[in-house]
Amino acid sequence: MSKRAQSSARGASGHRITRVDRLKHWLARHRYEATEALRRLLQMPLAALMTLSMLGVALAVPGFLLTLLVNLEQLSPAADLKPQLAVYLKPGIETRRIDVISRELLLRDDLLSVELISSDTGAQEFKQRTELGALLDLFENNPLPAVILIVPRDSSTGALQTMQQSLFAYEEVDSVELDIEWLVRLGAILGSFERVSLILSVLLGLTVLLVVANTIRTLISSRLEEIEVSLLIGATSGWVRRPFLYAGFWYGLFGAVLATLLIYLALIFVESPLRELTTLYLGGFELQWLGFQGVASLLALGSVLGWGGAYLAVSRQLTQFDAR
């Protein structure tokens, strides 16, 4: 080796060829190690399948949760959505008095919009929108109160509360409800769901790392003689690591492929209930699948974790061969 390097260092042109040769050899080596690692993995289908299913599940759970999260976020209030107050008037108030109240509200400059829904209009809408409309016919008089929907200019929580209080100045007002409350509540639920998903993702990512490390450790123990002999005849730690890193890479990649399949199956399973839930609130709902970016990230994450787990396992083994 040293003789070769010396002779090639003499001529500049020779040196360049050597470099290209070295790169070619390096690439050929990597290609060889990658296919060899794949061949060895496919040689023991049962053991590999067990590990792969473990990796698949560990990667699928966070992937599924995050996809679900993206979907549920469609429900959270849009940025331009202003909170609305529904002012319920007491039943049996004269229509003229109601008009006066709504006009007075229209004149206030701290309100963006005022919409009056009379008890008749309310009853019509109720009949149109729900199957329970026939219930109204059971009543002698329309039991629905008139409602005035107002959108305040200032949508801070404090201002909304003051507004709510000030509306009770009208003795005709029965109750004032903040329409946005459920959205705020949903936001909080989604927020904690996001946290839980994140924690689970980190824990399961760690699981992937450890599962691969453990698998590679077994692989190493079956090739200890090869490692030791290689080191004794001049292999670098990089050389010794390489086949195991590729094995870890393949495990991670195939685990991620399996995880992608699992996530798709799970999404198909939850699609219809999710659609029902969201149409109740939003009307239109488009199920978000993993998408190209999602699949690519999942595969990349799986490969990197596999590679990393293998690196941990081999490094631990290599320190045992260091000269004392």
Partner: protein, 220 residues
């Protein structure tokens, strides 16, 4: 120039055992030398210091112009490529052919595929086993396995050939064959150091003998 030089080298293991005590000796370049002594005398330890499997507790080990103490961890692999080492149990890998076993040092050193093919066959020819190229090493006899082990040690033409009990598992006739093989490599300029306790064999061959006794070098 000395191929190997030990200056007051001592090795004490973690368990307190003194394997080598102030060992001094030199090997001239191109020399063939036997290293002998009872088992436990320190032969293996001395070879482990040369292959940097172990580091000395005190003293200096020089190989050629290289003080081994100055080699950092990442330089060890390159240093080892300049050696050829033969083991008593030959340490061939059972999961690959004879060819692949001998090719391993060349692959590690980064030789091209064509180059590897030529050199492996040349090495096989030198040990007289050209026809065994595609065999599994475990299918060969003990003597043949050791020849393959030697082919692997010399395939990259090392300046220094080290052997640890290379005839330990062989009968006297095969042992002599193996030793004569080492002499052949010595004749073309390779420095050879062979650790063995086969005193009868050493006496038949006219080479310098180093004797270790409880970690001390007796006659140099």
């Amino acid at each position: 120039m000395a191929a190997i030089r030990f200056t007051s080298v001592s090795k004490r293991y973690d368990n307190g055992h003194d394997a080598l005590r102030a060992v001094d000796f030199e090997l001239e370049s191109g020399e063939m030398v036997f290293l002998t002594g009872h088992s436990g005398a320190g032969k293996s330890t001395l070879l482990k210091l040369l292959t940097l499997v172990e580091r000395p507790s005190r003293g200096e080990v020089w190989v050629g112009e290289q003080n081994l103490a100055s080699l950092r961890k990442h330089q060890i692999s390159h240093y080892r490529r300049s050696l050829g080492v033969v083991y008593q149990n030959h340490r061939l890998l059972a999961d690959r052919s004879v060819f692949q076993n001998i090719a391993l040092p060349l692959q590690i050193a980064g030789y091209s595929e064509d180059d590897i093919g030529r050199r492996v066959r040349a090495a096989l020819d030198r040990v007289g086993l050209l026809s065994a190229e595609n065999a599994n090493p475990m299918a060969l006899s003990g003597g043949e396995q050791q020849r393959i082990g030697i082919a692997r040690a010399i395939v990259h033409k090392p300046r220094l050939l080290i052997a640890d009990e290379p005839t330990g598992n062989l009968d006297p006739r095969l042992s002599l064959d193996i030793m004569q093989l080492f002499e052949q490599f010595n004749r073309i300029g390779t420095t050879v150091l062979i650790a063995t306790h086969d005193v009868a064999l050493i006496k038949r061959m006219k080479h310098r003998v180093l004797i270790l006794d409880k970690g001390r070098m007796r006659n140099v």
